[in-house]
């Protein structure tokens, strides 16, 4: 480990821009103080891997509207409450009579719904490949227990299409720190076509400081050449978790999806299949993305085009207490993480 640290500190080869795709990686890199340990020639940039951050305003607006109807209760993780919609967020809705419940697990929705059969409990199902299987569990349980007043409003997204979008439309990335949790489900092989197509290395990384450093080291040594390296072999296999994949495939089909700041990306989302449409609270076509603040640069932050501290709102009108964009809300959002750790690079 000391050798890796001194190598990364002393590296003076061609400048490299490495993207950590996953929000948990972004947060952990800040928490461990990793950027300060790297040579100035190695720059870490954050990608679109925080599910809350890539959610478009139309989705929030739909949740707000659903919560205001007397027969509904919107159920959500805490992060989602403060994500700005077109004009209001879920907290605002709650304060003006909207029915919003915060839970720690989507499965808590079942009990709430069973205890209150007169109302429909709608879970705000955001996330990537990692979380999608949990929503299938929610639906399985609802079906097997005959609970019919549970629905989900989905904004589910998949990683490979958005990585493809970044490489094609923006470029400038010399290596990807591939998301560990997503890879547990999808398997590391899923990144091979992208690596070959763009000639860029991928390193699947765990979440401990030393694991992240090792993955950065592997990417730097690859020096921009293709290849997928699995540095999280304890949890990630080439094929991934087949059971989870089958469950997701049973309930969901790929669909075009809108990403905050990037617009529509073909086949980058998941929507409930026709036969389970009765559980859908109206997820299709939520594509509008009109940020409340025109100066917010979340879009460019999410694709690594600018660092959070290059946004004119960062730290002035946009702070964790008064977030103007979604990246300042979530604990895994790049802006939140830069702000709360006063990260300079």
């Amino acid at each position: 480990m000391t050798d890796i640290q001194s190598y990364l500190n002393a590296y003076d080869g061609p400048p490299l821009r490495l993207m950590e795709v996953c929000g948990t990686h972004t947060a952990q890199i800040s928490r461990c103080g990793i950027t300060g340990m790297l040579s100035p020639a190695v720059r870490m940039i954050s990608g679109p891997g925080c599910p809350v951050c890539v959610t478009v305003t139309a989705y929030i607006d739909k949740l707000v509207a659903l919560s205001m109807e007397p027969e509904n209760v919107v159920v959500t993780f805490g992060d989602m409450l403060r994500v700005p919609g077109g004009s209001r967020n879920l907290n605002d809705a709650k304060a003006t009579g909207g029915h919003v419940r915060m839970v720690y697990s989507p499965l808590d929705t079942l009990k709430l719904a069973a205890d209150d059969p007169a109302r429909t409990y709608i879970f705000a199902a955001v996330g990537f490949e990692t979380t999608a299987p949990v929503y299938t569990m929610l639906l399985e349980e609802a079906i097997s227990n005959g609970i019919s007043n549970v629905k989900i409003l989905t904004s589910l997204k998949t990683m490979p299409p958005v990585i493809d979008w970044i490489c094609k439309n923006q470029g400038g990335v010399d290596g990807f720190l591939a998301p560990g949790h997503v890879s547990v489900i999808t398997g590391s092989r899923i990144f091979e076509p992208l690596s070959e197509k763009y000639g860029i290395p991928f390193a699947v990384a765990g979440f401990e400081g030393p694991q992240i450093l090792a993955a950065i080291y592997a990417l730097v040594r690859k020096n921009g050449k293709a290849g997928v390296m699995n540095l999280y072999p304890g949890a990630v296999t080439e094929e991934g978790n087949r059971t989870a994949q089958k469950m997701v495939d049973k309930y969901f089909a790929p669909c075009d999806a809108a990403w905050r700041g990037m617009g529509g990306i073909p086949d980058s989302g998941l929507l409930l299949r026709e036969e389970y449409a009765r559980f859908d609270a109206g997820s299709a076509g939520l594509n509008d993305d009109r940020g409340a603040n025109a100066h917010c640069r979340c879009a460019q932050v999410l694709t690594g085009a600018v660092s959070p501290n290059e946004c004119p709102l960062f730290g002035s009108s946009c702070t964790p207490q008064t977030p103007q964009g979604a990246c300042m809300v979530s604990m895994e959002g790049s802006c939140y993480t830069y702000f709360t750790n006063m990260r300079k690079r």
Binding site: C32, M37, Y104, T319, M331, Y336
Partner: protein, 328 residues
């Protein structure tokens, strides 16, 4: 028996409730007079504080709302250098609350008050509509010795920072109960009289001290660094966190630096007194895991730095965002 609106009427039912539960549990000569206000002997300088307790659940591993309502207020008095003497308590009961539960809350309140050397000398009961919830407000009065000189603004370069034990136990215990997670984590809820008395009596020059409650250690040390215009540097590996709480935090994405505690304090002392202060803490009832966790260094005033286990450095800010609601 269930609490009804009649128990808040101020009439017979109220009197019976007070007599049956509160007077019996908190019995002392001042309270026994049942006057409109308690009249007590005083001191030249007194410390006054108040705190309200709305924790859910009411009973949790390692404590309950009753013990908590005494510890919270007593510890606040202690941190200003005062000797806690008197408490008042106000109960806000929702209709449907259970008198058996109330007794189970009053008993540990009385026990903790006795441990902390305070008398509960006045109180109030109100009943509101609701679903059986119980809320407590306590106010506390302490006597301040004339020579007390504690201040968040008096930390200087070279001073050493101590923490009295493991971080995050209370927060993790409450969250585990709410999420139905099985583990053996216990709240650290405790009055810190013995520890503070030992520290102050030992001759250690204590510059500043504070109990580490909501907002966590990160927030408290930022308040010190800001008030003293100094830079503090912590060693992450030196900050005590139990293995169970550490694992719990990793799973849920929590940071022990921002977790609430109910029986922990941090103290800043002159460098030469550090070992003596540590020994005092370790010897006291709730301080066996106390540790020296950092020092005041030269650096950007008002900042708290943390050296991470892999050799990086990051800045520790105050807690942003919500934390966890209703942990105390």
């Amino acid at each position: 028996m269930k609490i009804t609106m009649a128990h808040g009427s101020g009439g017979k039912a109220t009197a019976e409730l007070i007599e049956d539960i509160f007077e019996k549990s908190f019995h002392n000569p001042v309270l026994a007079k049942m006057e409109d206000s308690a009249v007590v002997p005083g001191a030249e300088k007194i410390a006054v504080t108040t705190d309200s307790f709305v924790v859910t659940p009411l009973f949790f591993p390692g404590g309950d709302i009753g013990r908590l309502s005494v510890c919270g207020t007593v510890n606040d008095l202690l941190m200003s250098g005062a000797k806690p003497r008197y408490l008042t308590c106000g109960f806000i009961l929702e209709e449907g609350a259970d008198t058996e539960e109330l007794k189970k809350i009053a008993a540990p309140m009385a026990e903790t008050a006795s441990e902390a050397g305070v008398s509960i000398v006045a109180g109030d009961t109100k009943v509101v509509e609701g679903k059986g919830g119980i809320y407590i407000n306590t106010a506390g009065v302490g006597f301040v010795p004339p020579d007390a000189s504690l201040s968040a603004a008096s930390c200087e370069e070279g001073d050493v920072i101590l923490l009295s034990g493991n971080l995050g136990d209370h927060h993790a215990a409450i969250l585990s109960e709410r999420m139905n997670i099985r583990n053996t984590i216990q709240s650290d809820c405790a009055p810190l009289n013995e520890m503070v008395n030992a520290l102050l009596k030992s001759g250690v020059k204590v510059k500043a001290m504070r109990d580490v409650t909501r907002g966590g250690l990160g927030t408290v040390l930022n308040e010190f660094a800001g008030a003293s215009s100094c830079c503090m540097e912590l060693e992450e590996t030196a900050i005590p966190v139990s293995a169970q709480v550490r694992g719990f935090c990793e799973i849920l994405g929590l940071d022990p630096l921002y977790m609430g505690n109910e029986g922990k304090m941090t103290a800043v002392v002159a460098a030469g007194d550090a070992q003596k202060a540590l020994a005092c803490m370790k010897k006291s009832r709730y301080g066996k895991n106390a540790a020296i966790i950092g020092k005041v260094v030269s650096g950007e005033p008002g900042t708290v730095l943390l050296r991470t286990p892999i050799g990086g450095t990051r800045i520790v800010t105050v807690l942003y965002g919500e934390g966890l609601p209703r942990i105390c």
